[in-house]
């Protein structure tokens, strides 16, 4: 972007603007594009969710505004804008006003490190993955502010619930990603995508695998378990249905949003859908290769890039379009899975939520990290790191042994953990029933 603007302004027009101004314009342009993209994603996703959930519930869904109801989200937006903005009399005016902004701003920030296609990333931060999750944790502050400033018991309860949920499910989410970070050895999101070339087997693990852009981490036992844990944690972070306790409308009205109306409510709504989009996108990027897919790498190798300055610009466009198509297709698929889960499962109780996060997901992700270490040791290390006995094995054998070993460890752990967890839950509900019976007997 910077080079392009520099050429355009200083070389073509000959204005000789200072370099800092050009880089400022470049960053502002990228930011403006992203700020336009985010609300459109949200508009599309609300329509998508309403149609999909309607089909699952044997209804039609919005179908009046425009062809097949496609303009329904725009009508909703107009409704939001024209609604009266009500602030409770006892509310803390300023905090009440700032809270929606504090919730929305981080979700926009997170777009800064999301790669859309080959070479299409706003900022390739070398700690991009950590940045993504650090920024997402800011919105918890905004939720707290909203809950407290409304001066409403339901709002405060909802804020407490949502913050407790976000803080405890951040741990399994980050731990499961740490396994992938151990395998790739980088925190940069772009490098993590680059490491997923190949065909079912990663081309980093087994050089010489044909590159169809299908060397996704989901095809390894470590990646599969990490995906399983991460997606569940993402459902909780995005407050999707089995974990929508913070805004359980049958218990606490609407949680922290109870006292908000008009566009302020709309901002909370926007933040939630954008966050869900980003979490689905992150799932697609880290476990399903992001823009990787058949053909993208070949197209990009013909295009203008830092590695190949004499490419054809046409291939840039083609690789970009194909890459963005793959990325969005995967992301929308995961959003569909979220809707599907919403259509299929009831809401958890608060104690079940905490039990599941702390006693099931976290041990599972810790064991997965051990498997990741074994994977790295068996596929990358040699005599220099103290593993002389695998020096003689070929890359294929190393990959096979690592696959089998991690598969056995992960599967055994999963089965064991699931059994222990089910037994403990059953014991707990039995105890609770007994307690209740004792209580009834006592009052007799």
């Amino acid at each position: 972007m910077y080079d392009m603007l520099y050429n355009l302004i200083n070389v073509v027009f000959g204005f000789n603007w200072p370099t800092w101004l050009i880089s400022l314009i470049g960053h502002a342009a990228v930011a403006a594009i992203l700020f336009a993209v985010a609300p459109f994603q949200m508009l599309f996703l609300t329509y998508y969710e309403r149609r999909a959930i309607a089909r699952m519930q044997d209804r039609v869904g919005p179908n009046r505004v425009g062809p097949e109801g496609i303009f329904q989200p725009i009508a909703d937006g107009v409704k939001m804008f024209t609604k009266e903005d009500i602030v409770p009399k006892a509310a803390d005016r300023w905090v009440h006003l700032i809270a929606p902004c504090v919730v929305v701003a981080p979700t926009m920030f997170m777009f800064a490190v999301v790669p859309w296609g080959p070479g299409m990333v706003p900022v390739d931060l070398n700690v991009g993955l950590l940045f993504f999750f650090a920024i997402s944790s800011i919105s918890a502050v905004g939720l707290m502010m909203a809950g407290w400033a409304s001066n409403n018991k339901f709002a405060l309860l909802g804020a407490m619930r949502s913050v407790a949920q976000m803080v405890s499910y951040e741990i399994p989410a980050i731990l499961s990603l740490l396994a992938i970070v151990m395998i790739t050895g980088t925190l940069s999101i772009v490098s993590i995508i680059d490491a997923q070339a190949g065909l079912f087997i990663n081309s980093v693990d087994l050089p010489g695998v044909p590159d169809w852009g299908l060397g996704w981490f989901i095809f390894t036992p470590v990646g599969f378990l990490a995906f399983f844990c991460f997606f569940i944690a993402a459902l909780a972070e995005g407050e999707r249905t089995p974990f929508d306790i913070p805004e359980a409308d049958s218990e606490i009205v609407a949680g922290y949003m109870t006292e908000y109306s008009g566009m302020k409510f709309g901002l909370f709504y926007l933040a939630q859908y954008v966050l869900n989009f980003l979490l689905c996108g992150m799932t697609a990027i880290i476990f399903f290769g992001g823009w990787q897919g058949p053909g993208v790498n070949w197209l990009y190798s013909q295009a203008i890039s830092p590695a190949n300055p004499e490419g054809m610009w046409l291939f840039n466009v083609l690789a970009g379009v194909l890459g963005v198509f793959y990325f969005l297709a995967k992301t929308y698929f995961f959003f569909f899975v979220m809707i599907w889960i919403r259509g299929a499962y009831p809401r958890l109780r608060v104690d079940q939520l905490m039990d599941f996060g702390w006693k099931f997901l976290i041990p599972l992700t810790l064991v997965n990290m051990l498997s990741a270490a074994i994977w790295v040791g068996l596929t990358r290390w040699g005599a220099a790191e103290g593993l002389a006995f695998i020096e003689g094995w070929s890359a294929g054998v190393r990959w096979g042994v690592a696959f089998a070993l991690t598969l056995i460890i992960n599967l055994a752990t999963y089965i064991m953990m699931a059994r222990i967890y089910a037994a403990s839950q059953a014991a707990r509900s039995r105890l609770e029933l007994e307690e209740l019976r004792d209580l009834a007997a006592m009052s007799r």
Partner: protein, 205 residues
């Protein structure tokens, strides 16, 4: 590029100093906590300006994402702590100020005296993009933690483990002492049972 960085630096330091001042002068304790969060965030942005990306991200993750939430939780779960009653006056005020300044100085002075100022920025060769490793990259920090500062690292680890175990011990309650909170439906059922028994006994008489 330099002017832009100077301007951003000025804005950020104004934000940090202003937010810190507000945090200690504002009466409402929740507002003070919120200003403190703004101050933390500004410091994180300052690290980012220094190209210490990892430290910046960790600052946001730990201070804005975790510590501030803890502070907010603690304030919101305790009642009636706002107000000016706790204001210290007279000679005590001066003693407090002296102690605070002394504590702050013990942290700051050795750093200021022993620090090597005016470090030249890394020279970027013509044609190449950036230096291979950023000044405070995640990889360098990690390597230093397991080679140079191994003892410090392990002591911190033991300390955190102790804190974790302590938290579990405090929060642990025995099953026998736990009182289950009844749901509305269960309470209603119990009351109905009592009422029925009462009427039965009356009928028996």
């Amino acid at each position: 590029m330099n002017i832009l960085i100077q301007v951003i630096f000025g804005l950020l330091s104004a934000l940090i100093v202003g937010a810190a001042m507000m945090a200690v002068t504002v009466r409402n304790i929740i507002h003070a906590a919120l200003w403190l969060i703004a101050c933390f965030f500004g410091v994180g942005a300052l690290y980012l300006l220094l190209e210490a990306e990892f430290i910046a991200v960790v600052q946001v993750l730990i201070y804005v994402g975790a510590v501030s939430i803890l502070i907010l939780f603690a304030i919101m779960l305790t009642r009636q702590i706002e107000g000016a009653r706790h204001l210290v006056t007279g000679w005590r005020l001066w003693v407090t100020i002296a102690i605070c300044v002394a504590l702050f100085a013990t942290v700051l002075v050795p750093t200021l005296l022993s620090h090597n100022w005016n470090v030249p920025p890394p020279v970027i060769a013509e044609g190449s993009d950036l230096p291979a490793e950023p000044l405070a990259g995640a990889a360098e920090l990690g390597r230093d933690f397991v080679f140079v500062y191994l003892l410090h690292f392990q002591v911190t680890g033991v300390l955190l483990t102790m804190a974790l175990i302590g938290a579990i011990v405090i929060a642990f309650e025995e099953r026998a002492r736990r009182r289950r909170v009844l749901t509305l439906a269960e309470e209603h059922a119990l009351r109905e049972q009592k009422k029925n028994r009462g009427t039965e006994e009356q009928e028996n008489r």
